[in-house]
C-alpha cells in the first residue's frame, strides 16, 4: 500500500514536468487565440496578456470573414475542394486496392509495380510539366484541377490494400458462388469490412487537402477561387502590420481541422501509428 502511493506521487511529478513540456507545443496556439481577441495596440504588450483586458473579438473576426478577403468564400472553396478530393481519392484508392488484392489477373502484378514506383517521385519533381499540362488542357485555375491533383495518391491504395488482403477469400468465394460479381462483392462485402480503414484514410486525406498550400499557390490565379491557406497567406501580405487580424485569420484556418481531428482523434492517431509501424 505504502509503496503504491509512493509510486503515484512519482507519476504525478512526472506528469507535471511533461505538462510543462507540452506547453511549448500549446502556447503558440494559445497566444494565437488570445491575440485574435485583442485590439491591435495590445498585441505586443509585455508581459503577455493571456486573457485580453480590452476585447475586440467580434470586430476582428468580422473583418476577416466579411472584409476585403472574405473568408466565408474561401471556406466554401476549401470545403468544396477538400470534400471532393476526399471522396474521389477514397473511391479510386479503394477500387484499385480491391483490384490489386482480390481480383486475380495476370497484368495486376505489373500494374501494381508501376503504381508503386510513383510513390518515390517527390511531388515537386513533376510540378513543372504538370503545370504545363494543366494549362494546355484547361484545368489550370480551376477547382477541378486541384481535386484531380490530390486524388491519385498511391498512399491510399497502399494502405487500403493491406486491409483488403486481410479479408478471407472464402468469404468472397461464397458470395461468388451465390452469383455476385466483383462489383457487388466490392460494395456489399469488402468495403463494409474495411470501413474503419477507409474512415482513417478519408480523415487524413481531408486534413492534407485542407492544409495544402503548394498546389493552390501554383495552380490558382483568380482571387475568387482561392482556398483558405492561399487566402490566409495573401491576407497576411495585405494586412502586414495588423497582427490581431492575422491571428484571427490563422484561428479560422486551423479551427475546422482541429474539429475534424478531435472527432476522429482515435482514427487519426491509430492510422498514423499503424502506417508508421508497418512502414
Amino acid at each position: 500500500m505504502n509503496k503504491r502511493s509512493k509510486l503515484d506521487i512519482k507519476k504525478i511529478m512526472i506528469t507535471i514536468i511533461v505538462f510543462f513540456c507540452s506547453l511549448v507545443f500549446l502556447l503558440p496556439f494559445i497566444w494565437m487565440l488570445s491575440t485574435s481577441f485583442k485590439i491591435e495596440a495590445d498585441v505586443f504588450k509585455f508581459p503577455i496578456e493571456w486573457i485580453p483586458e480590452r476585447w475586440n473579438a467580434i470586430s476582428n473576426y468580422k473583418d476577416v470573414w466579411f472584409g476585403d478577403y472574405p473568408f466565408y468564400l474561401y471556406y466554401w472553396n476549401s470545403i468544396k475542394v477538400a470534400v471532393s478530393t476526399t471522396l474521389l481519392s477514397v473511391t479510386v484508392s479503394a477500387m484499385a486496392a480491391y483490384g490489386f488484392s482480390k481480383v486475380r489477373f495476370p497484368a495486376g502484378g505489373w500494374l501494381f509495380f508501376i503504381v508503386l514506383a510513383t510513390y518515390m517521385v517527390p511531388p515537386q519533381a513533376s510540378l513543372v510539366p504538370q503545370f504545363l499540362l494543366f494549362r494546355n488542357i484547361g484545368l489550370f485555375d480551376s477547382h477541378l484541377g486541384l481535386v484531380l491533383l490530390g486524388s491519385f495518391s498511391v498512399l491510399g491504395t497502399f494502405m487500403l490494400r493491406q486491409f483488403f488482403m486481410g479479408i478471407h477469400n472464402d468469404l468472397l468465394e461464397a458470395a461468388k458462388i451465390d452469383g455476385a460479381g466483383h462489383w457487388k462483392i466490392f460494395w456489399r462485402i469488402a468495403v463494409p469490412i474495411v470501413k474503419p480503414a477507409i474512415a482513417t484514410y478519408a480523415i487524413l486525406r481531408f486534413i492534407w487537402t485542407w492544409n495544402d498550400y503548394q498546389n493552390p499557390l501554383i495552380f490558382l490565379r483568380t482571387d475568387k477561387l482561392y482556398t483558405i491557406q492561399l487566402a490566409m497567406q495573401k491576407f497576411t501580405t495585405i494586412n502586414g502590420e495588423f497582427y490581431s487580424l492575422i491571428m484571427a485569420a490563422a484561428v479560422s484556418a486551423i479551427l475546422p481541422l482541429l474539429i475534424v481531428f478531435i472527432i476522429g482523434q482515435k482514427q487519426v492517431i491509430e492510422g498514423i501509428a499503424l502506417g508508421g509501424v508497418k512502414g
Binding site: 483490384g99 510513383t118 510539366p129 452469383g179 491557406q229 497567406q233 508508421g276
Partner: protein, 313 residues
Amino acid sequence: MEAKEERQLPLGKTKIKLKRSKIQRSENLAGFLFVSPMFIGVSIITLLPIVATFILAFADWKFIAGWDQLKWVGFANFEALFSDSVFLKSLLNNAIFVLTVPLTMIVSLVLAIIIDKHVYLKSYFKVAFFMPYISSVVAIAVVWQVLFHPTAGPINQFLMSIGIENPPLWIADPKFALISVMMIHLWISVGFNLIVYIAGLQSIPKELYEAAEIDGANTWYKFRKITVPLVSPTSFFLLITGIIATFKVFDLIAVLTSGGPLNSTSMLVWYLYDTAFINLEIGYASAIAVILFLVVFAITIIQWIAQKKWVNY
C-alpha cells in the same frame, strides 16, 4: 440467375475449359476496371510529368516563349547548376536541415517512453504534442513569424526581460534564419514521431523488461539494451521518411522566409519553385527537379535494401 442454372447442368470437358477461359477473361476485365481509374490518374498526374521533367532538363526554354523557342542544350543546365552558388547553397542547406531528423527522433523517443508508461492523462499528451502536426503550415508559419519578431515579438521580449541584451534576430538574421526554420520544423514533426514511437514501444513484450529487472538492470541499461534495439525498425522508418520529408519542405519556407535573408534558408524545392514560377526558367528548373528526384530516389533505394536486412533479424 443464368450462371446458377448453367452450373447445375452436366458439362463436358471442353465446356469446362471454355468456361474457365471465360471466367479468366471476366476476371481480367474486372481487374482492369477496378485498377484503371488509379492507373490512368497516376499515369497522367505523375508518370507522364516525371518523364517530361527528364526531357525538359536538357532544354533551354523560357515559360513565356512558344514551343518553337525551345533549344536542346545537352548537359548545359546541369553544368550551370554545379557552378550556381544559390543552387549549391540550397543543397548545403538541405544537408544541414537533415540534422532536424535525428534530433526530432531523440526528443520523440524520450517523450514516448515517458508518456507511454509514466504519466497520467496519456491521451491529453498525445493530442497536445500532435497539434502542430495537424495544423496548417501556413497558419503556423504566420504565428511563428510574429513570435520571432526581432523587436516586438514575445520571444525576444521575454529574452530581453531575463537580461539578454542582444537576442538573435531569428528569421531576419542570415546566421539564425535556417536554425529558426529547423526549430519550427522540429516543433511540427515531434507529434508524428511520438505517435509512431508509442506504437512501436507497445509492441515490445513486457516480459523482456521484467526479466531484466529480475537480473537487477537499471533504467538506463534497459533503455540501451532493450528499448533502443527493439524499436530500431521504427527508428529506421522514421529516419528515412523524415529525411525524405525534409527534401519536400516548401510551405514553411515559402510563407516564413521566401528563401531569404540572402538565400540563407533557400532549399532545393524552394529554388526549384523560384526558378520555375518566378523566373520562368523551365529547362533550368527541370534540371533542379531531376537532382531532387535522384536524391530522393537514392534514399528510397537505400531504404529498400536496408529494410530487407532489417526484417529478417
